[in-house]
């Protein structure tokens, strides 16, 4: 396997040896040409190519549960981690990874975050799924019951009396909750 350059722009344009690319097609029909080491972080892709002997480099793998928007987010994360791995094969510098991850999720809305969690779950990227669910937990930790219902799209099926009783019982847990 040739060592490939993970960054998407201005990299190997003039290199004579072409790096291997994997073609992935999203639910809305866009085809992404992804560097092999990056694509192989997607467990579903890795097993697809490992288990099917008749697929070739020209095979376009369909990913019907992943939108183009989610795919951009997924690849940004996987490319950054491939870059860390390539530069520091032993251990990625913890601080640099933290800084990247913090900046990475700051730009994502709650809807985008949920969409990416679904995609990471479907594509079976355990590291990313673990990271994103941790981000979701941080976002709701100090929020109100109403905020969390809206966040997850959960219907309140308590009667008003039942809910009032529960809120009384857990009154101490409602102190210091965020305003929004």
């Amino acid at each position: 396997m040739s060592s490939s350059i993970a960054s998407s722009s201005s990299s190997s344009s003039s290199s004579s040896k072409k790096e291997k690319k994997i073609s992935l097609k999203t639910s809305d029909g866009e085809v992404f040409e992804v560097e092999e080491p990056v694509a192989m972080q997607l467990e579903i892709v890795r097993s697809f190519f490992a288990d099917n002997e008749d697929v070739t480099e020209q095979t376009v793998m369909p990913l019907p549960n992943v939108s183009t928007a989610a795919m951009h987010g997924i690849l940004e994360y996987c490319r950054a981690h491939e870059e860390f791995r390539r530069r520091m094969p032993e251990a990625a510098p913890e601080e640099e990874v933290r800084a990247f991850e913090a900046g990475y999720v700051d730009r994502k809305s709650n809807e985008e975050l949920k969409e990416m969690i679904l995609a990471a779950n479907y594509l079976n990227i355990s590291k990313l799924l673990d990271f994103l669910t941790g981000v979701a937990a941080k976002r709701i930790e100090n929020k109100s019951v109403e905020y969390v219902r809206a966040f997850f799209g959960v219907e309140n099926d308590f009667t008003p009396e039942e809910e009032a009783n529960l809120r009384r019982e857990y009154e101490w847990a409602f102190e210091g909750v965020d305003e929004d």
Binding site: A69, L166, A173
Partner: protein, 148 residues
């Protein structure tokens, strides 16, 4: 513009997210809906990864993550109003037996639930006098037949 459909997460992912939250959030989120109430009410501490450290005003469960050798301490909020501090007398799977100025409390640090054990102690006695020797007399018992 992309047409983005609001998608909901499957339950196993939602519960995975909830599993990362501290007890205070979990207690509050029992009020979200019946399914969450049922799920959050049956959560228990894992027996092997928590150690409780405490002083008179502070309780810290410490998670030892064997794989990464990192130690994480989280401060817990005691659910009751306390005037003169409290002391942890015993602990078992995240269940603490606590004495404070109004008597004994069984405190489930995982769910935030608690129960006063009024029959054990007369609050008229002086708390500070009592707490100095009381820890020698109380501990946890476990009844296999009722899992209690």
């Amino acid at each position: 513009m992309m047409n983005r459909i609001k998608q909901s997460l499957p339950d196993h992912i939602i519960f995975g997210i909830l599993g990362r939250l501290p007890g205070k959030s979990l207690a509050r989120f029992k009020c979200v809906c019946k399914l969450w109430y049922a799920f959050l009410s049956q959560l228990k501490f894992h027996t092997d990864d928590k150690v409780i450290l405490s002083s008179d005003f502070l309780v810290q469960p410490v998670n030892f993550e064997a794989s990464s050798s990192t130690i994480k301490a989280v401060q817990l909020d005691f659910p009751l109003k306390v005037r003169s501090g409290f002391k942890v007398i015993g602990s078992c799977n995240g269940l603490l037996l606590v004495i404070y100025d109004e008597g004994f409390v069984m405190w489930n640090t995982w769910t935030g639930g608690y129960e006063r054990l009024s029959s054990l102690y007369n609050p008229a006695e002086n708390y500070l006098d009592v707490k100095s020797y009381i820890e020698y007399y109380f501990g946890f018992g476990y009844d296999h037949s009722t899992d209690d």
